[in-house]
């Protein structure tokens, strides 16, 4: 009978301890699921592929000017995009990158030979993005465009020093609150979304956050490349929550055979 109080004390102490914390790398359900093309708003459409704060601010200024009320939206969109290129993107390019900027879209390997995009375009790909939990230590980013799949390691590992560069690079990630942060390096040299060359020294930090109302997902990507950029480019993209969407086979690409060169558009 003397043992009973002792056991009760032990039991009480055990019950008073907090439950074990959930795994730190667990993906919040806020981000998991299917996302797709942005809402049909002016800013969402401007950021259909990718955009910058400089471009968004210019677009909003144009929309707020009564003198532009009669002008078609595509005109305003093109003007904001030109402003973004002239005042934000082009000044960030190094002399080396400027030598070939803007690249001729007719030379794009995806266009000529159906070669899937590299990271710098794929991470901004239009249409579906599925964020899928694979395990406690891994999530996949699955894109409709090219049916590309990126693996993000969440176990705190370092990037292997001998990891060879690849099209989509090597990604490690973590959560900061509800924000998924993905750091990618070891990316093979390729083409950026603003139509310039980048080197295999490019590094990207992506931050994925869901809006308070749950309807949109915003990516803010900081892109560094000591060969191609004087200073980082910070680019954005918006998706719409789209559980009804699905990724369909991407199996009918045909290499281009008849086209015109020299239609470069920055």
């Amino acid at each position: 009978m003397r043992l009973v109080p002792v056991l009760l004390v032990v039991l009480a102490v055990a019950c008073s301890q907090a439950p074990p914390p959930p795994p730190a790398a667990r993906v919040p359900s806020k981000l998991e699921g299917m996302w797709s093309d942005p809402p049909p708003t002016a800013v969402g459409t401007f950021c259909f592929f990718s955009c910058t704060d400089a471009g968004i601010e210019r677009l909003n200024a144009l929309l707020d000017d009564p003198a532009n009320d009669k002008r078609p939206f595509p005109q305003l969109q093109a003007e904001a995009a030109k402003y973004q290129t002239d005042t934000y993107l082009r000044p960030r390019l190094t002399e080396a990158a400027l030598k070939t900027y803007p690249l001729d879209p007719a030379d794009d390997p995806g266009f000529l030979r159906c070669e899937p995009w590299g990271l710098s375009k794929q991470m901004f790909a239009p249409h579906q993005l599925e964020i899928r939990r694979v395990s406690d230590d891994q999530i996949d980013l699955r894109y409709g465009e090219w049916e590309a799949v990126r693996t993000v390691h969440l176990d705190g590992r370092a990037v292997p020093a001998d990891q060879p560069p690849s099209r989509l690079g090597y990604s490690v990630g973590r959560f900061e609150g509800d924000t998924l942060v993905v750091e990618t390096s070891k990316v093979a040299a390729g083409i950026t979304w603003w139509n310039a060359q980048h080197s295999d020294q490019m590094r990207v930090v992506e931050r994925f956050t869901r809006s308070d109302d749950g309807n949109t997902l915003t990516l803010t990507a900081t892109i560094e490349d000591p060969w191609g950029l004087r200073e980082p480019v910070v680019a954005k993209k918006i998706w719409r929550w789209a559980p009804e969407q699905k990724i369909t086979p991407y199996d009918a690409c045909e290499p281009a055979t008849a086209f015109k060169k020299g239609t470069n558009e920055p």
Partner: protein, 149 residues
């Protein structure tokens, strides 16, 4: 087969393609986004695939010779967002199609609009998107007008 009549109507148009819907590759090396043409004919095939849906149609030219035209659309990934499916356009349909002409191929265009024999129109998702944006702009202008000066 119903009478096929082909005509080309070349018009300068706004660069609607500035509303970037095509992804996989740039539009400009293949198509002239500043012009549109319209042809009238019968659908022989509609392929609802990625990265671009394709349609073949038979069109008679002014001399009565039948030509095969190739119409390129955005991909299935994109068209499904606008509610399209593999049955949206059916072989045998008589249609009038407007599109941006290819630079290098005489019987090829990028889809802008399709009108069926009963007069109903089919437009890509970008038309719906532009319509929603114009409504947003109207509301924006109204709010601006209500603000004290």
């Amino acid at each position: 087969m119903r009478l096929l009549r082909a005509f080309l109507l070349v018009l300068p148009v706004l660069a609607l393609t500035a509303v970037t819907i095509n992804a996989h590759h740039a539009f400009s090396p293949v198509y002239d986004g500043k012009r549109t043409i319209t042809v009238d004919g019968v659908v022989t095939q509609f392929r609802f695939v990625n990265p671009h849906a394709m349609m073949l149609m038979e069109v008679k030219d002014k001399t009565g010779k039948v030509e095969t035209w190739n119409v390129e659309f955005a991909g299935r990934l994109n068209l499904e967002e606008a509610g399209w499916n593999a049955q949206t356009i059916k072989p045998g349909e008589h249609v009038k199609v407007t599109g941006n002409p290819a630079w290098q191929s005489a019987q090829r265009m990028a889809f802008v609009k399709l009108v069926r024999a009963d007069g109903t129109e089919l437009e890509p998702g970008r038309a719906q998107r532009l319509s929603a944006i114009e409504e947003e702009r109207r509301q924006r202008a109204q709010q601006r007008a209500q603000q004290p000066k």
